[in-house]
Symmetry: C2
Subunit: 273 residues, 2 copies
Amino acid sequence: MTAAAPIAIFDSGVGGLTVARELRRALANEEIIYLGDTARVPYGPKSAATVKRFGGECVEFLLHFRPKLVIIACNTASATALEDLDQIVDVPLLGVIEPGARAALGASNLRRIGVIGTRATITSGAYPRAVAALDKGATVFSRACPLFVPMVEEGRTKGPVVKAVAQEYLTPLLEQEIDTLILGCTHYPVLKSVMAEVVGAGVTLIDSAETMATAAKELLAARGEGRPESAETPKQHFYVTDVIDEFERVGRIIWPDMTGRIERVEIGRAALR
Amino acid sequence: MTAAAPIAIFDSGVGGLTVARELRRALANEEIIYLGDTARVPYGPKSAATVKRFGGECVEFLLHFRPKLVIIACNTASATALEDLDQIVDVPLLGVIEPGARAALGASNLRRIGVIGTRATITSGAYPRAVAALDKGATVFSRACPLFVPMVEEGRTKGPVVKAVAQEYLTPLLEQEIDTLILGCTHYPVLKSVMAEVVGAGVTLIDSAETMATAAKELLAARGEGRPESAETPKQHFYVTDVIDEFERVGRIIWPDMTGRIERVEIGRAALR
């Protein structure tokens, strides 16, 4: 694999742009190919079997670009499909779960860690498993927060309703005296300031977009596959499975200075006709 | 077409169960085949092109049962795909938009009508068009309410957060002095009591599930295709494209005494592999 190859990012929709944005900051020389499965988003409320099928189709599409690394930015897909995908793909695959668990353990003194995510991510138990694999003495308290994603996609990132919902979701975790909270969904970093207000200074927030970018940087350094600096600005190319304008609208909420070409592709078209 | 043929109902997910429930009440002798595209739900935030593609695939599946009537329970699909579908299908198709518009005009004295729905339904302008086609003097005020569907699916059908969100969405419509409000999404009847509280007694709520059942009953009567009473309880059969348990979980919120077999089917599988 050549160092000049792009990094591919897969997400169920637009949320993975939080990861793309951090990756752009951390790895300024790399080309980025992004695929958001916006026609079938969200994956969060769906079954593991369906998420595996959709994830497989999307990663297959990204492999056409011969990437040196595929990042599964979607927490739901990382939690349910990463192991299966890893067996069929011969390029390094990075999911968000393990780096998030590692960062949380690094930040936690009490070893009492909260994790929030979609229903599918929480039901999968992937974060508690990843934490236990690294530190059996740590305790993880989980909570599904189904309204956070639609709130972000509506552009509702602050205000009394968001705060009331955040309080309702996070209070049971705070009562467990967590000192670290994993934001286990790519959309959640956008709500970080509201969450910080609700949890207070005693709880460290682990942003999976940041931990993901760090993990990607370390992996490329270890493999000696970082792309050397060049005179040209490295390309960013975005593919979506539904129309472009909605992706751009929500994209601007998440990543105000996003640049690059956006194209529509069809994935998962019925074999019927 | 025989009177014994079933009625087919298509919805993007579980919300169409409000229509199935009303249909069961209004047409106790009819067999019902229901398809919820739960693997690709929601349609509301997606483009017309994608909704047309998904809707076409789903209606094609339902035609295998040789129904005497296909009901497009999903407001988003009715608003964006009904006309196209009507051209390729030789069975009567009923969408929710026209019956809802008709019922609203019947209820409104001021001819000032509010309509709420998903982003796609509101963007399509289907309700204002349907109202104008019936009464050019009526005015329609529209508002997209993206959080209502995830709230219902979370089981959050009352309480301070729901009320605050309903107030925020509905206040601009109330300021326009509407006297009738179309609940232009199959999920919304579940929130009817909260909405009634917010809009007050001066505004009539038009429940698209009820108007749909009435329209279906009238259409079958007009065609002489009502199913005669029989000794057997008429069958209900539900098909979903994602797993059954989640459909049942939300189904019980919407239709507590739902009965009948639920089966999983695959629609829109990629032609890739």
